[in-house]
Every structure is written in C-alpha cells, then in structure tokens.
C-alpha cells in the first residue's frame, strides 16, 4: 500500500514531463490520453489507498510513503515522504477527482487553442504540485507544493499572454502571493526553531507539550502561517488577485481558482490545527477574517456584470466560510465545505465556461439572457449548482453551509455575531447566484447578433463532466449528514482522528438545546428563500426594476400609487443601501484601496529601481566617492564606539 501512496503524485509528474518535453511533436489525441490518463491513475491510486484506509481501525488510519531524505543538516531534517491519513485522503480524492473531470472538459474547451500542449503540461504540473501539497508529511515539502501550485497558477493566468490584461493579472497574482509566501516561509523557520521538527505528525505531538497555550510564540507562528493562507486562499486583504485571475482559460478558473488551489489555505490551517488550537487569538482572527471576507465579497458580487467575476467573488466569499469554520474550531466542517464547494463551484465555472464557449467568448451577463432553451443541458446543470451553493435543503451545499453556521453559533470559539455574518452572507449568496441565473438563462435574450449565429450547445465531452459534478453537487453532502437530521456525521468522524487532539480542546456546543439547531437551520433556509424571492422579483417579475431604481425621483405620490409599494420601501431600506454598499466596496475599497495598494507596491519597487539606478552614473570617480563614503561611515562607526 505504501507504494501506491508514493505513486499518487508521480503520474501527473510524468505526464508533465512527457508532454512538456515532446511539445508539439505529439498528436493531440496522445496528449489527451496522457494528460487525462495520468490524473485518472492518480485518482485510482487515491481510491485504492482510501479503501485500504477504511479497512484500518479508526484511530490508526495512517499510511506513509517514504521516498528519500531531502535535507539533513545537523538537527534539521526534512524528507520527501507522504502521509496518507483521512484528511489527506479526502483532499487527494477531491483534487484528483475534480482535476480529472476538468481535464476531460478541457479537451473540448481548449480544442482549438494553439497552446494546447503547453496548457496540458502546465495543468499536469499543477496536479502534481497540488498532490504534493496535500500529501506532504512535513511543512517544508508542503511549501514546495505550495510554491509549485503558485507557479502553475501564475503561468496559467497569463496563458493568453498576448492579452495585456492577462499578463497583468498574472503579475498581480504573483506579487500578492509573494506576500503570503513570505509569511509562510518565516512561519516554517520559526516553527522549526521552536519545535525542532518540521514533520507534521511530530509537530502535532510536540506542540501541546512544548508550547504555552495562548503564548506569544505559538500566536506568532500561527499568524505567519495565516498570512500564507490568506494570500493563497484570497481572503481580506490579499484577495485582489483572484478576480483578475479570471483572465485565464475557464477550466483553469474552475480547477485552480475555485476548486483546489485556493482552498490550500484552508487545508493548511486544518493540517496544523494542533497549533491553531493553542492560539485562541489566532483562531479568533481566522474566524473574523473569514466572516468578514464572506460578507464583503458577497456584497461585491451583487454588482458585477461579468459572469466569471461574480463567480470569483463568490469563491472568495465561500472560502471565507471555510475560514470561519476553521476559526471557530470546526475544522472538519471547513473541510466538508471545501469538498462540496469543489463540486458545485467547479460545476458553476464549467457551466459558465460552456455558456462563454457557446457565445464565442462573451462574458458580460447583460448580453446574455434567455439561454434556457438554447442551452438546455448546461442550464440544468447550472441550476443544480446554483441551488446547491445557495443552500437549498437536501443538496450538498446546504449540509456543509449549515454545519458551519451552526458551529459558528455553538462552538466554544463561536459567537452569535459570527453567525449573523454568515447568515447575511447566505442571503446575499442566494440573491447574487439567482441574479446570475436569471440574467443568463431567463428573461429575454440580449445576445448580440454576431454571437447568435454561432450559438450552440457544448459537445458531450464538455457536458458529461458537468453531469458528473451535478450528481456530486446533489448527493455529495450526504457523507456529512449531521446528527440532527438523522445522519451519522460520518465525515466528521472520519476526520476526527486527525484533528481529534484539536477537537477535544474545543468546547463543543453541547450545552445548547438540541432544538436550537433546528431553529437556526430554519432561519438559514428562510434567509436563502428570501434572497431567491428578492432576486426573482427583480430580475424576472419586474426586470425593469433595477434600471428604474436609478431614475426614480419623480415625487412621492407616484410611490404611493405604485403597486410595488412594499417592494419600493424594501428597495429603499435594504436593497438599495446594499447595492450602494456593494458599489462602495467594489469601487472604493476593492479597486482603490487594496488593489491600488498592490499595484502601487509593484510600481513603488519599479520606480525605486528606476530612481536609484541613476546613482550608478558610469563615472568611475563617483564610484570611488561612494566607496570612500562607505569607508568614512565604517571607520566613523568605530570612532563613535571607541570615542
């Protein structure tokens, strides 16, 4: 079994090498087989390992796959070896499974692209790095995978490099991720220095013994790791790169910027949960960052017109949920939502990709509409995903989201305010997702005549993956059916051994009355329905409404006789402020403050470089003078010391 675990990431690596080195000499069909086949083999290997894991007693589920010692220098050691435990198993299955589906989808989507080979070799490299990340048994190897996925992400965002916006977006992603990596790397070093080990299993054992709970050291380490997680998972304040990352091909957005890579931060926090539970301050910060990001990104999502950008903000918002879960100590709930989110978000992106494909590259929702009948298969799959992400009961998204909301309220680290944040986000999510659905598929068609000519449903190679994911988006949630609904919370129990030490530290919400869980559940369902109804009112029942909002200053009396009086008040009190808030967040905070900061940072270094290089005058006497100034300063320093 060890061999199988060892081999999981190796297949895509070979795929990358073969495709990358033979380049264009290979026919497309062979590339397809190698690219998809290698990922499929990883998935099969992961499945086999998963079942053998299930065969083991629940608290000793662990397989090591040792390749070789990597760095050994004195007390420092780090090896290339894998750990396959329940958490890794879940991640491996999600990553390789979703990757495989998206690889297949890409065959259709990228069929006419000139960079076909480059695309698949990068994609395979990405899968390799991601598997390395989730399987790594020490933080240093995890960092290798972490950088690897970052590199692939950068290369794939800028895949269509002839578009300036694409290469700019790549650059931005790169810069923002540097900030995150900075924290991560320092965190690793500080961790090694304090515990003398980088092995995750050893860390989990050593941390409670050697570190003072709530002490400054563990807080510093966990916060540094949080910086890394925030960068990679696009949370406040380092989320700016993700919306721009949509410049890449849509399957890439689905795989890297929605389903897998961006959730690496959540995975890492869950992996190091043993450290996080020792630092309540960090936990609180994780929860607050998550909660606010969830709300913030959701509000921005309200006002976007680009279909992929809505989904991008939605991704940020959903990852915010996962952070919220981790922050309140419900790591398994975070991972659960990560899993279901991978299904429905990948489906949403691929559905959007199918629409974009059908409309010859149109991404603006204002030029869509009425596509329900033109793209019936895509529509059905998209509808399922929308229902799932909105949290309609009995679909996958409902269970995971509800779990998080419940934990946010009831956990020892939780707080009703966090729950309220989550609840408002749930309303907004339902609203913007249905807005998206209505604008794209319902109503009257705004498709341009040019696009109309080529309008066609996608080929089966793109639709079949959609339906596999649609199936998972419906039923994927039942693995984690909570006790309250008669389930066994299998998912939580499965992960429990890995984060058991973390969980027992947390006071679970046992003191809450069981009925409370039902009430909160009901509240969230109502909230979701509210969001849907409002969206329906706005975009189906009265599609002119949003436009009227902008020009309705004709006098009070018209309002009184207006038959949508209630709606109007509602608009005025809730929707319009929200809409304005959304614009404010987007136009001012997003574009100016944070985005501006990142851009300015890059510009700053550039201009520093430009400004200082004139000091290198080319005159040898100036060089001698600078040298001499150095001498004066150093000798002067000594004169000062020994004065």
């Amino acid at each position: 079994m060890e061999m199988i675990v060892k081999l999981i990431p190796v297949f895509p690596l070979f795929g990358f090498l073969i495709i990358g080195l033979t380049n264009k000499k290979m026919p497309k069909q062979v590339v397809n087989i190698i690219a998809c086949g290698s990922v499929f083999l990883s998935f099969v290997a992961g499945t086999i390992a998963f079942f053998s894991l299930l065969g083991m007693p629940s608290n000793s589920r662990f397989i090591t796959g040792f390749w070789f010692d990597w760095i050994i220098a004195g007390s420092f050691s780090s090896s290339v070896s894998f750990m396959f435990d329940p958490l890794a198993a879940v991640m491996v299955l999600v990553v390789s499974g979703v990757s495989f589906i998206i690889h297949v989808y890409s065959i259709g989507y990228m069929a006419h692209d000139g960079g076909y080979w480059r695309y698949f070799s990068f994609l395979n490299l990405f899968v390799f790095s991601m598997l390395l990340l989730v399987l790594a048994d020490n933080v240093l190897l995890l960092f290798v995978g972490w950088e690897g996925v970052g590199l692939c992400s950068y290369l794939l965002i800028g895949f269509w490099f002839h578009k300036k916006s694409a290469s700019d977006a790549g650059k931005k992603a790169f810069i923002v991720n540097r900030i995150g990596d900075f924290g991560f790397l320092l965190g690793i070093m500080l961790l090694f220095w304090t515990l003398g080990s980088t092995n995750i299993k050893e860390i989990s054992h050593l941390a409670p013994e050697m570190l003072v709970a709530g002490g400054g050291l563990v807080t510093a380490i966990t916060l540094l790791f949080l910086v890394g997680a925030v960068g990679k998972s696009a949370q406040i304040p380092l989320y700016v790169w993700l919306p721009d990352a949509m410049e890449g091909p849509t399957p890439v957005s689905a795989l890297i910027h929605a389903a897998t890579m961006v959730t690496a931060g959540v995975y890492m926090i869950a992996r190091l949960s043993a450290l996080y539970v020792l630092a309540p301050t960090s936990m609180a910060i994780v929860a607050i960052v998550g909660g606010f990001t969830a709300l913030y990104a959701a509000t921005i999502g309200l006002a976007q017109n680009d279909i992929k950008r809505v989904l991008a903000y939605s991704t940020i918002s959903q990852i915010g949920y996962m952070f919220l879960a981790c922050g309140v100590g419900a790591f398994s709930a975070g991972i659960f939502h990560l899993t279901t989110h991978a299904f429905f978000k990948a489906l949403l992106f691929m559905g959007a990709g199918s629409v974009i494909h059908a409309l010859s590259g149109e991404q603006d929702m204002r030029y869509m509409g009425g596509l329900k009948n033109r793209l019936p298969f895509t529509y059905k799959a998209f509808l399922i995903a929308t229902l799932s992400i909105s949290g309609i009961p009995l679909l996958a998204g409902f269970f995971s989201k509800d779990e998080i909301l419940w934990k946010a309220y009831s956990s020892g680290h939780g707080h009703p305010l966090l729950w309220i944040l989550g609840l408002i986000t749930a309303i907004l999510t339902a609203f913007y997702m249905f807005r998206l659905l209505y604008l794209t598929f319902h109503g009257k068609s705004n498709v341009t005549a040019e696009a109309e000519k080529h309008l066609h449903e996608s080929p089966p190679v793109m639709l079949i993956p959609l339906y596999i994911l649609a199936f998972l988006s419906i039923f994927g949630g039942y693995i984690g059916l909570p006790h309250a609904l008669g389930g066994g919370a299998w998912f939580e129990n499965f992960l429990m051994p890995v984060i058991a030490e973390s969980a027992h530290v947390i006071e679970t919400g046992s003191h809450h009355a069981p009925s409370l869980e039902y009430i909160l559940m009901l509240a969230s369902v109502v909230a979701v329905l509210l969001g849907i109804v409002v969206a329906y009112n706005f975009y189906i029942k009265n599609p002119e409404k949003p436009k009227q909002l902008a020009q309705r200053f004709a006098g009070c009396y018209r309002l009184i006789f207006n038959k949508y009086y209630i709606d109007e008040v509602y608009d005025y009190l809730i929707v319009k402020p929200l809409y304005i808030l959304s614009l404010i967040f987007w136009k001012i905070f997003d574009v100016r403050v944070i985005d501006g900061f990142v851009n300015r940072l890059a510009k700053f270094f550039g201009s520093m470089s430009e400004r200082f290089r004139i000091l290198q005058t080319g005159f040898v006497r100036n060089y001698a003078l600078v040298f001499f100034i150095g001498v004066i300063i150093l000798v002067g320093y000594l004169c000062y010391i020994f004065r």
Binding site: R621, L625, I629, I632, V635, G636, C639, F642
Partner: protein, 166 residues
C-alpha cells in the same frame, strides 16, 4: 637635530604630494611624485632602513615612474586637455570627506601609546636579516610575488599587443 631632518622631509613629501594631485599636467605630476618618493626614501633612511630606501629610489623613482613618464610621452598629452570640472558635488565631497578621513586616521594613530624618539638603529639597514626573513618565514609570499610579476607582464602584453592575423 634628527627631528629637523624629519620635518624638512615631511614638508617636502607633503608639498610635492599636494602638487601631484593638483597639477593639470601629467608630466608635472609625475615629476612631483618622484620628488615625493625621494623624500619618502629619505624618511626610510631616518628610520634606519637604508637598503629599503635604496630600493625605493631604484624601483619607484627608477622603474615605475620612468614607465609612467614613458606612457605620458607615448600618449603625447597636452596640458589643459579637460577644461573646467563641472562636477561640483564630487569636488566638494572629495574635499570634505578627505578632511573627515584625515581626522579619523589621526584619531586612530593617536591612540597608540606615544613612543619617545629613539636612536637610529643601524641594525635595521642590514640586508642579511631581511634576506633571512625572506627565505624562511616569507618564502611563500616571495614565490607568489614572482608569479604575480609574471602574470602582470603577460597581462600587459595581452592588453597592449596589436591584433594579429586579421
């Protein structure tokens, strides 16, 4: 008495050194540099190192400076070739920082316990102990310096020789 000779030599060395760096004409500078070196040789005699003083004259004034003069003649440089120096900052800083360096260095050397004047030790002028040093303790540097001189000759030839062939 000895101090008087020291002062005279020091004044000659300093003045001619200042002339070296302030003249515009390279020939004048070179001649003043020869004067400085002779003054320094005189100081070496004051310190009792007669042999090194002789070497100073032979190597520096005799060989190195002749080479300099030879190059100056070869290049046939005229006097005011460069005109007025417009780089004010450079000159300002050079002067100011030069004074700072001087102050610093004097601070440094003044920290050494002042050794009172002592009679000239003729022992220091002997060649035999110097040779012994050279061929025992400093044999390795001595060998290196021979290779170094060879390297310099090769280098000078490589740089200066005309392109062959084409």
């Amino acid at each position: 008495m000895a101090n008087v000779i020291f002062y005279i030599l020091a004044v000659i060395a300093l003045t001619s050194a200042l002339m070296v760096v302030t003249r515009k004409n390279a020939v004048t500078s070179a001649v003043y540099l020869i004067v400085t070196m002779c003054a320094i040789a005189g100081l070496f005699v004051q310190l009792g190192a007669v042999f090194i003083a002789a070497l100073q004259i032979i190597i520096y004034a005799g060989a190195i400076m002749v080479l300099f003069l030879f190059v100056i003649m070869l290049l046939n440089l005229r006097k005011d070739e460069f005109g007025f120096d417009t780089r004010v900052f450079q000159r300002l800083f050079a002067g100011l920082l030069g004074i700072v360096l001087l102050v610093q260095l004097i601070m440094v050397v003044s920290r050494l316990p002042v050794v009172a004047g002592q009679p000239v030790d003729t022992e220091m002028g002997r060649v035999a102990p110097l040779a012994t040093k050279f061929f025992t303790q400093y044999l390795y540097p001595f060998e290196i310096i021979s290779v170094l001189l060879l390297a310099a000759i090769i280098g000078a030839v490589v740089i200066a020789k005309k392109k062959m062939g084409k």
